[in-house]
């Protein structure tokens, strides 16, 4: 458990990448309101309602010469302060005061995100090549509609 862990950025798009930062987001069991997907076979079902990634991993990729930034490879939430290697399928994340998500699987990289990666090679975020350095998919488990305002 990491006490200082927090949401760095919330990202949505009308489909595709990059996803752009928004100041707050409402979430349902199908994901963030205002977020959409071009490929609805690979995205947007309850078990893949949210795509999560680590700010520390993004910094490491930037240091390796990749042009990645928060949201540029399509994660909905960029999170800092979590031991990302321990965020495995089955893990629970409390996100703010209202939402709990459970990691369901890792996200498979695709050609759409290669513009953010050196030499257009997506293997640095491939679970097969770099286990536990990848984006994670999560389902949403809990929300309280009476507490929709974030101070």
């Amino acid at each position: 458990m990491t006490g200082s862990a927090h949401i760095v950025q919330i990202n949505v798009s009308a489909g595709g990448v990059p996803k752009r930062a928004v100041p707050s987001a409402q979430v349902t069991a199908l994901g963030l309101q205002g977020d959409a997907h071009r490929d609805r076979e690979q995205h947007g079902e309850p078990d893949r309602a949210l795509c999560l990634f680590s700010q520390e991993r993004i910094r490491a990729l930037q240091a390796g010469g990749h042009s990645i930034a928060a949201g540029s490879i399509g994660e909905n939430l960029t999170i800092e302060g979590i031991d990302w290697g321990a965020v495995t399928p089955g893990s629970y994340l409390r996100l703010g005061a209202e939402v709990v998500a459970q990691v369901t699987r890792y996200m498979s990289p695709c050609a759409n995100i290669t513009g953010s990666l050196r030499d257009r090679d997506y293997s640095p975020v491939s679970q097969n090549r770099y286990p536990r350095d990848n984006r994670a998919c999560a389902r949403v488990l809990q929300g309280n509609p009476s507490r929709t305002g974030i101070p």
């Binding site: 458990m1 100041p23 987001a25 409402q26 309850p46 979590i82 629970y92 409390r94 703010g96 005061a97």
Partner: protein, 56 residues
């Protein structure tokens, strides 16, 4: 969408909801700066079929 708790055993820490506290999901919100906490999966329990299994 309706969340239905099927089974959950030992998957939550003290700062996360108990299995009984998981309720039907409607909606919620968050913002940058909001705290994140994690309860990591007990991979041995999951491998043995005793991990948390929550289906929406």
């Amino acid at each position: 969408m309706v969340g239905v708790l099927i089974a959950c055993s030992g998957a939550f820490g003290s700062d996360l909801p108990s299995p009984r506290e998981i309720r039907r999901f409607k909606s919620g919100s968050f913002a940058p700066g909001d705290a994140v906490s994690a309860r990591h999966a007990d991979e041995r329990a999951i491998a043995a079929g005793r991990g948390a299994e929550v289906t929406l």
